[in-house]
Symmetry: D2
Subunit: 141 residues, 4 copies
């Protein structure tokens, strides 16, 4: 079974709120940054997605479970595993851990749908994209 | 059965992304703005939460289903119904509709937990808070 | 001399930082929201800018002086005066005040340039746009 | 004369707007991220600022000149030079360049004021902070 893709980032001041912790919608943006980097590793820069593959992606579903809080300047590691590669969609599961103590902060899931860049209608996942993503796919996917 | 709480806002330029639509984590912030306004109506300004009630809230779980996209300058109506009032937590269900055509754009759910403002340990929901929230609670809650 | 355009908004939780105040880049976004509303009043929705007038705008210069801080849930009034209407650019001066006590929080200035929507090259300000903006222009503009 | 401090980052999807470029208030946040990293190099983590030095900082003035646009996935290099070390304030000048072609995208300036963490009243810059910052100070500062 494949290893998850791992991305590291440091919490920015601009991402924290009045409670002294990362504002909870911001973790969803962290997942998005991780997808960008997973894509670069698996397929290539996302900027080539539309010109090379003629498709774009949108998020159809997102879920987050917040277990502990990240604070300003914490270094985080986000692990991503593709858990389902469907005909027109993919599901990815994520964990966010704090590097200093390995604490699990957040678990999340995103379901992306492949779409036509102009009308946002569903499109088949291109074969080259599927082949690249399989590298980070769980056995069951 | 109680009516949901309704909050309206207009999509800002700063909330849209390269695809010409609202960036998906931003909808979670829209739910947060709505909770602030529901709170004002049900209980009072959230700024009085810690000094008056000695508790704070954090989000433990969030879920979003994206059905259609909001665009820059769209006016949105967010409806919120408290679906569960537990001992230390509350769950709220949301819909986001576009005012111009009534299209359902997003459905979401947040589970808040009442915590100690200092150590983030769980705390009982204060009675006055519970009483205020019941006004926007579904029958089952 | 014309009255400034005035826009009101309430500070959102998501706009505040660890110091308990609005994060300073966020005030620049407040100016942007105000330009959108000034535009609606003076000319029409900004979404019609490219299809109707064939031009777009970009910001070439921004300046902010922070005098006092806005806090979560404060209601703010942003006043905007067009101080210069050039051939291809406009300059707007802003003040941000807190409604509850009239305190001046921030003074700012934006210089917008009219550009070709495709290549971002400079374009003349359309006459109908200029006519609309004159309503909120200082005598000297 | 000292070398400027240099920080690199990659433009995130969440930082771009409908025009396909970085939203202009976001560049101000880029300067803020750079100050955090300059601080780490010159003095130590900013999280130790209040406990170790008993002071905090706020931004009193900001200026930006936008020359060209950064796009999604661009790698940027931000150079920071401390141009003035006053009794209670410091001024820093920044340039933001695109790494791929060295194009100058933005020039900016921030004036920070040292303040009491509780009442935001002005405070003297601590000597150890001043000594650290001199490493990235222009000759004139």
């Amino acid at each position: 079974m494949a290893e998850p893709f791992r991305h590291r980032l440091r919490v920015r001041w601009s991402e924290c709120d009045l409670q002294g912790v990362v504002f909870y919608p911001q973790y969803l943006a962290y997942l998005d940054h991780t997808v960008t980097e997973l894509w670069r590793e698996a397929i290539g820069p996302y900027t080539e997605m539309i010109p090379e593959h003629g498709v774009d992606m949108v998020v159809a579903e997102a879920g987050m479970r917040y277990r502990d809080s990240a604070r300003f300047d914490d270094e985080l590691e986000i692990a991503a595993t593709v858990t389902r590669l469907g005909g027109t969609s993919m599901t990815t599961a994520f964990t966010i851990e704090r590097l200093s103590d390995g604490a699990l902060l957040t678990e999340g899931e995103l379901r992306h749908v492949f779409v036509d860049p102009d009308d946002f209608g569903k499109r088949e996942m291109p074969n080259r994209v599927r082949a690249g993503l399989e590298r980070f796919a769980a056995a069951a996917a």
